[in-house]
Symmetry: C2
Subunit: 225 residues, 2 copies
């Protein structure tokens, strides 16, 4: 039930990485960010309540979350910043470089393309596709914008792992159908539509409007109490 603790190049066993609740996975992302900050400021050991305070949760939550990965804490002391950073990177799959294609080079697409932290985390946008003839052939950074009808070729040539959808809503479903056919297994969707795709393709939706509207709901509620 315990991963050999002293191993330098440890291997995460399936039993642990299996069945980590989705809510926990999202928090692991945050913890990793905090750990990196702590590391930069020279902290070597961190307790669950420090992570909790930083992330707006409780210490119990942090410990439970981390316990899904194994036993990396030292009782009476906390967690080694360096070790835990390494573990989280591995669990989240951030040891690899992921090859990402950006579909849609409009406002949002361009902003995403230029968003530094993606690259720092190993998400390399190595292909950009757009259907606007005025854009095809131009460059985003040093990446050539390719025509939409070439997408299948591009996905194959660049061995794309993951696709970011930043095209207008009506175009999105048709495009991801082709993406799925080209055997890509992960889609990050910024288009304001609900995409339908097979079970084995991972999908996350980022909706700018949903968040704003939930704030609007909160404001309305606050107003009449």
């Amino acid at each position: 039930m315990r991963i050999s603790p002293g191993t330098a190049s440890f291997q995460l066993v399936n039993e642990f990485t299996n069945r980590v609740p989705a809510a926990t996975v999202r928090r692991l992302s945050l913890y990793l960010r905090f750990l990196e900050d702590f590391g930069r400021s020279g902290v070597t050991s961190v307790a669950s309540n420090a992570l909790a305070e930083r992330g707006g949760t409780t210490a119990a939550q942090v410990r439970k979350d981390l316990s899904y990965l194994g036993s990396y804490g030292k009782r009476g002391l906390g967690y080694s910043v360096e070790e835990l950073t390494r573990v989280l990177r591995t669990v989240l799959g951030l040891d690899t470089v992921w090859r990402v294609a950006l579909l849609g080079a409009g406002r949002i697409g361009t902003a995403l393309f230029e968003y530094e932290p993606f690259r720092r985390r190993g998400f390399h946008i190595t292909a950009v596709v757009d259907n606007d003839p005025a854009k095809v052939g131009t460059r985003l950074g040093h990446i050539l914008v390719r025509a939409e009808h070439e997408m299948e070729c591009v996905l194959r040539e660049e061995r794309i792992d993951l696709v970011i959808v930043a095209v207008p809503a009506p175009a999105a479903q048709g495009l991801v159908d082709r993406v799925v056919a080209a055997d890509v297994k992960a889609v990050l969707n910024y288009a304001p539509v609900q995409l339908h795709l097979p079970e084995d393709v991972a999908l996350r939706n980022v909706s700018m409007l949903v968040e704003l509207e939930s704030l609007s709901y909160a404001l309305t509620r606050a107003a009449d109490c």
Copy 2:
């Protein structure tokens, strides 16, 4: 237990709008989008399973969600597209114009500023603040970019309801502290930090990285099974 159904300008009673689960609120946003689509294509009545199919949930979920708002369905028939659209707009607080300030006119800020759907939904960005002297005094669309030190004035003058934070991570907390002091009650945070603010201020975080990293986790899991 029932809101008088025939009233043209109906009023939503507190008992209903109270305690709608957050998860439901987010789905209501989606349903509203679908209803507007249905409306545009001339559909006048829609059943729970149609909404469910469109939104990737189940019919039971849709009915449960809508039941928090009252009884707007007709048994054997479904929901009136027009009526339900109206109800959702009201519940989500989209009958009002919300006055929004954008903090940070960088890549993300600019992209958000130019994102059309915000305005269509009644979120009007009426102020932009940045601390880069090169940007202050220029215009984003027809909005003058103001200096960061003027923020309090701007928030007051423009009677801002809601703030979008799109500044670099290190600047974010200091800025929202001032925003909170200026009595703004809602914050949409795009900066990659966990913000700490009083209970009575609504906060939503949009993290580009968290979503990508949860996909990365999913890809890693998929690979070794």
